[in-house]
Amino acid sequence: MLIERNPQKFRRPSTTARRRWAWVLYIVCALTLVPSLFIHPHSEFGFAEIPGFHALLAFVTGCVLVLVAIVVRRIIIRPEDYYEHRT
């Protein structure tokens, strides 16, 4: 149910909080890279044994998916009542 604005409830986090969480994320990302300098994964594929391969794969995938989604949305988006106005 919709109510009047209630300051107790969930609001947009402050900029400093956002920045702090972003730093946490960057540090976690860096930390996951550290062990791959010492541990050599035994993969069936040579390319998967490069240190940081999975990190690169995930990052590139994420970026590509977002970009493709932007383009695809332009093509396939229709108004909300699209199917209600059929001939």
């Binding site: 149910m1 990302c29 996951t32 541990i39 794969l57 990052f59």
Partner: protein, 564 residues
């Protein structure tokens, strides 16, 4: 001693579902929860390798066949029926628990069926019972969706019937074992399975129907139909190379739709499709490790997907909203539901210590073992993408997005218990994978918790979160919009009706033209006929008998002459 045809845990659930509507509330709920427990206990004590047979006309049916593969799916179907029953404990509807149990029982029966005819019968019952789950809601939109859904499901059943008829006619063998693509009628059967497994371009019934069911109904729907199809594929088409690229496509393209969709249950439906892709790839590879992976992934996937549908269903029930544009900020008001949702999201993203991790890695190991490098990269990318389209998206938009407009409280206790049990199962299977591996079709010699595997998985997750964050901050990540995103249902919701409309117009126009033409033709024709045959026409003059005799004589003479 039971008659042979009754000796089947699936029929137990179906019969329980049939008596439910006439029982009072408490007894109804006892049956709803008791039947899956009894079914599970029954299934558990049947020794592997058991089959029962009955003869019908000149055929020998195998209504019950319990082997490793059937056992895995049978166990998880019973567990899913129990959890979804608990989740719908608070509903006072008589039909919904009945439809849910009949649906679960027929899916169980299909998994335990040893021949194509029994499989077909249960296959059709799942279609009807699941459509009933959509119809029960009684909304006009849901009715329309249910009609579309039923058409697709029945089409799948017809293809199965046609394929099975060709196969049985050609081989004289009813048994549902490995078919492969060379068997007679097997393309039709593959099409039937492919529709229910939501192959690319055949998939859209799923995202059309699942978001339209009730909050409780979607949880039931998400568990059975598609996994029954995965079972059937694993039984009939294990090791069919064609399935590998099909599955790989399935793991990628629904991601885009899941990122764009606004309705959170639609997001989950698309992500369900992605997870099915993993299983289809594993079935296509077909080694023992891969089939184990497909079965294990079906088990964990049923659990965490049901958990996610349960949390979003709880949100829908408590707030009346399910679209990302209207939701947000519920974490403080529904802390337990939010926590369960995060566990489900972590499971589907394959965080270490969660259920998704131990099953998805089986599939990836099987793919790597058979040296499908491109497919392996695709699946790794898809599992990295999971964080983007569901792992972050679902919890964020439902529980953590800034929104102070909604006031609500936690869902009923039974919903919380159901979610809690499912979440506990997700964590338990993640912590103790041997529990999961012990019910798989083949013996498992695999340890997901190696240092390098954990590290690479954490890299995958951290960096896809980083990509998400950077895209979000740059304003590139597609924000939810109240809009329709076209999918293949456009063909039968827009294109075909339009064709129908144009055809109808053409028909009417041509009828007018043609009708006019025919009319004038008829008039001239009648005028000609009148000229000859009406009261003053040539043919209706009264002639004297003598003239007639003369003419007959002349004709006879002519015949005679012609004979000579």
């Amino acid at each position: 001693m039971l008659p042979v045809w009754l000796n089947n845990p699936g029929l137990l659930l179906i019969l329980a579902g049939c008596v439910i509507p006439i029982l009072p509330y408490r007894l109804r709920m006892a049956v709803l929860l008791g039947a899956p427990i009894a079914g599970l206990a029954w299934l558990w004590q049947i020794p592997l390798g058991t089959t029962t047979q009955i003869s019908l006309l000149e055929y020998t049916l195998t209504p019950l066949r319990v082997d490793g593969l059937a056992f895995t799916f049978g166990v998880i179907f019973n567990v899913a029926a129990f959890l979804s029953g608990l989740y719908m404990w608070h509903t006072h509807s008589r039909l919904e628990p009945a439809a849910a149990l009949i649906y679960a029982g027929s899916a169980l029966g299909a998994v335990l069926a040893g021949d194509l005819i029994t499989l077909f019968m249960f296959w059709e019952v799942t279609a009807i019972a699941s459509a009933l789950l959509l119809v029960i809601r009684g909304l006009r939109d849901a009715m329309i969706v249910a009609r579309r859904y039923l058409l697709v499901q029945i089409a799948s059943g017809l293809f199965l019937m046609g394929g099975a008829a060709i196969y049985i006619h050609a081989t004289g063998d009813l048994a549902f074992g490995h078919l492969g693509l060379d068997a007679p009628g097997s393309w039709l059967i593959l099409l039937a399975f492919g529709i229910k497994a939501a192959f690319p371009l055949l998939h859209n019934w799923l995202q059309d129907a699942y978001p339209s069911a009730s909050a409780t109904g979607t949880v039931v729907l998400s568990a059975f139909t598609t996994k029954m199809a995965i079972y059937a594929l694993a039984r009939g088409y294990a090791g069919t190379d064609l399935l590998v690229p099909i599955g790989a496509v399935m793991t990628i393209f629904p991601i885009i739709y899941a990122m764009l969709a606004n309705d959170l249950r639609r997001v989950l439906s698309y992500s369900l499709n992605v997870q099915l892709g993993f299983m289809v790839v594993a079935v296509g590879i077909g080694t023992e490790l891969a089939i184990n992976g497909a079965a294990a992934h079906a088990v964990t996937h049923i659990l965490y997907k049901a958990l996610l549908f349960m949390t979003i269903g709880a949100v829908l029930r408590q707030t009346g909203h399910v679209r990302a544009t209207e939701l947000g900020g519920l974490a403080r008001q529904m802390p337990w539901t939010a926590a369960f949702c995060v566990i489900g999201a972590a499971s589907i993203s394959a965080f270490p210590l969660m259920a998704g991790f131990v099953s998805k890695s089986l599939i990836l190991a099987a793919v790597a073992h058979e040296h499908w490098a491109g497919i392996w990269v695709t699946l790794s990318a898809a599992s990295a993408g999971a964080l983007l389209y569901v792992g972050i998206k679902i919890p964020y938009f439902a529980f953590f997005a800034p929104n102070d407009q909604i006031e609500c409280e936690e869902p009923p206790r039974n919903m919380q218990i159901a979610m809690g049990l499912t979440a506990a199962a997700c964590i338990l299977l993640g912590l103790v994978p041997s529990l999961l591996y012990s019910i798989l079709p083949y013996p498992v010699d695999y340890n997901p918790y190696t240092a390098s595997h954990i590290v690479t998985q954490l890299q995958l997750l951290a960096f896809s979160a980083l990509a998400f964050w950077l895209a979000w901050r740059a304003g590139l990540y597609p924000r939810p919009k109240r809009a329709v995103h076209l999918d293949t249902d456009w063909v039968y919701r827009m294109l075909l009706p339009r064709f129908g409309y144009v055809a109808e117009r053409l028909y009417h126009a041509s009828l007018n033209k043609l009708g006019g033409g025919l009319g004038s033709l008829a008039q001239t024709g009648m005028a000609r006929l009148r000229l000859r045959y009406d009261a003053r026409g040539v043919m209706s003059r009264t002639w004297s008998t003598g003239w007639m005799v003369l003419w007959v004589a002349i004709l006879l003479v002519v015949y005679l002459v012609m004979y000579y």
